[in-house]
């Protein structure tokens, strides 16, 4: 029997109620990533590939410690590696574990037109259900972090599941289990946020990183993956982490404005035509 820790909270393109919603109260989960103590060992990458049974793949050496150029449909977890020169001229390695951020307000789920292809659990995990995916790739366009990746063979989109299969059984995600430095932690959102805030304070007060902070962007109502960064004012330095991730405004224009107006006018046109007939009658050939 499943432990009951995966309660569905939101379903893409779903009309009607959500089965089983609110039966159990659930803590929100969170992955904590302390960028400042990451050593770039890639154990999390290996663990991810192994646990999710994805094939190892060849890559090219491009004068960087980064294994792959980007995440892909079968490579959900990637340490983005950047060399950064500080103001005083010294060099610094910035390594950020890039994967799905599991937004509280997921743009992918909002964009998805296929019922049940994307679900959000009450614990905050956003999960793709490939058997319901129709391969339209609207989610790719809705994501502020460019995470969902399309497989042109299966015509489905894939991404990090936050190991919902493990979490549902009371285990931590595979990447967390593999991390040797403890820069990755997993627990409730409240706890992880508290640890992150404490660590950021420590960095500011004791390690000379005056602008250290926690990346938990409010523009998507927070994420279920949070970073501790040396410099919260420049998240872009960490392999293009957006400072203000936003669900594209065109999505709101499309789904929130254009679509209801279109449906309303289209549904109006038919009764208008019908009542025109009733009130004015047909134009018969004369006489």
């Amino acid at each position: 029997m499943p432990s009951g820790t995966l309660q569905i909270k939101a379903i893409s393109a779903h009309s009607g109620s959500i089965p089983g919603a609110g039966v159990q109260r659930e803590e929100e989960v969170c992955k904590y990533i302390d960028v400042t103590t990451c050593i770039g060992c890639k154990a999390c990458e290996v663990a991810c590939v192994e646990w999710n049974n994805m094939p190892f793949q060849e890559t090219k050496f491009e004068n960087t410690y980064q294994t792959m150029p980007a995440t892909s449909w079968n490579y959900w977890n990637l340490i983005k590696f950047n060399e950064h020169q500080r103001d005083d001229g010294t060099l610094m390695w910035l390594m950020r574990k890039d994967q799905c951020m599991h937004c509280e307000d997921p743009g992918c789920l909002r964009a998805c037109p296929a019922d049940g292809a994307i679900v959000q659990y009450t614990n905050g995990i956003v999960d793709f259900q490939q058997e319901n995916c129709i391969g339209c790739q609207y989610c790719v366009s809705g994501c502020p972090f460019d995470i969902p990746k399309f497989n042109s063979q299966t015509k489905k989109v894939y991404k990090c599941t936050l190991c919902s299969d493990r979490v549902g059984q009371g285990l931590e995600p595979a990447c967390i289990k593999a991390c040797p430095t403890g820069c990755l932690k997993f627990g409730t959102k409240t706890d992880m946020r508290a640890i992150a805030d404490a660590r950021a304070r420590q960095l500011r007060e004791q390690s000379g990183f005056a602008s250290a902070g926690v990346y938990d962007p409010p523009s998507v109502n927070g994420t279920h993956v949070i970073y501790v960064l040396h410099d919260i004012t420049k998240p872009e330095l960490y392999g293009g982490l957006p400072a203000n991730p936003r669900i594209p405004p065109t999505l709101t224009l499309w789904k929130g404005v254009a679509k209801p107006i279109a449906l309303f006018l289209a549904m109006l046109a038919a009764p208008v035509a019908f009542f025109h007939y009733v009130m004015e009658g047909p134009k018969e050939p004369q006489p």
Binding site: T250, L265, A266, K283, Q286
Partner: protein, 251 residues
């Protein structure tokens, strides 16, 4: 350019006319030749396929009822661009076929100015300057042309999002929606005007012919060109004859 289009179009007309048949009775006029009819219904079939498959992806509450028609959600997504491409290709032929009769003229400007009277249905017959197509039909036609172009240029990035990149695809979604709105409202009006609103019109696209009295009622200038007769005079004559028949019938 236009002569090449004319040659192509006339060739197609001739080939289809040789294959198909239009029976024109004494009291009728040939309105749409075989080629035009085949084109129109081919366009219509692909339009409806694209409309239904597009609607399935468009709205969650249509998703469940419409996707099974095409073999599930993934298949619907796969087929929709091909239906649309079929529509576009055939519609291009339709545009070439109708380029001349659909050209906007002064008569259409006059027609549009009195559209209120047209909708209110106050006049028994149309003004004598209304030719093969009236201003409303031309407006509908060019609206469909414009929205088909928008559909196509916004749909291709949506079809290959990886190639075109996110900003184009994002804008594509919105434009696709706007085009859908315009085309759908136009389509509903088109069906109404072509069936219930004007009895005798639907057969012009099926059998290809219309009654002469239909022609002088709705398109007097075309009636004049097609028959060489005065539409107003023939209409009044018909009215007189009908009332005469009434009198003799009652006496």
């Amino acid at each position: 350019m236009s002569t090449a289009i004319d040659r192509f179009d006339e060739g197609a007309r001739a080939r289809f006319a040789a294959r198909g048949r239009t029976i024109v009775r004494d009291d009728e006029l040939l309105r749409h030749p075989v080629y035009t009819r085949v084109l129109h219904w081919s366009v219509a079939i692909f339009f409806i396929l694209a409309l239904l498959s597009g609607f399935a992806i468009y709205s969650p509450w249509l998703f469940h009822s419409l996707t099974p028609l095409f073999g599930g959600g993934a298949m619907t997504r796969l087929l929709h661009p091909w239906f649309s491409l079929g529509f576009v290709v055939l519609f291009v032929l339709q545009v070439l076929n109708w380029l001349r009769p659909m050209t906007w003229t002064d008569a259409d400007r006059r027609w549009v100015r009195r559209v209120r009277e047209y909708v209110a249905n106050t006049e028994p017959v149309e003004p004598e300057y209304v030719d093969f197509f009236n201003g409303g039909q031309k407006l509908y036609f060019w609206t469909i042309v414009a929205s088909a172009v928008i559909f196509l240029i916004s749909g291709i990035p949506m079809w290959f999002p990886k190639t075109f990149g996110r900003p184009l695809v994002d804008i594509g979604y919105v434009l696709h929606d706007v085009a859908a709105l315009v085309m759908l409202v136009g389509f509903i009006v088109h069906i109404y005007e072509g069936t219930a609103a004007q009895p005798g019109t639907f057969r012009s696209m099926t059998r290809g012919t219309v009654e002469k009295r239909w022609a002088w009622t709705h398109h007097p200038a075309w009636y004049r060109r097609a028959t060489g007769r005065n539409p107003r005079a023939d209409y009044e004559e018909a009215v007189r004859r009908r009332s005469g028949r009434h009198e003799s019938g009652t006496s």
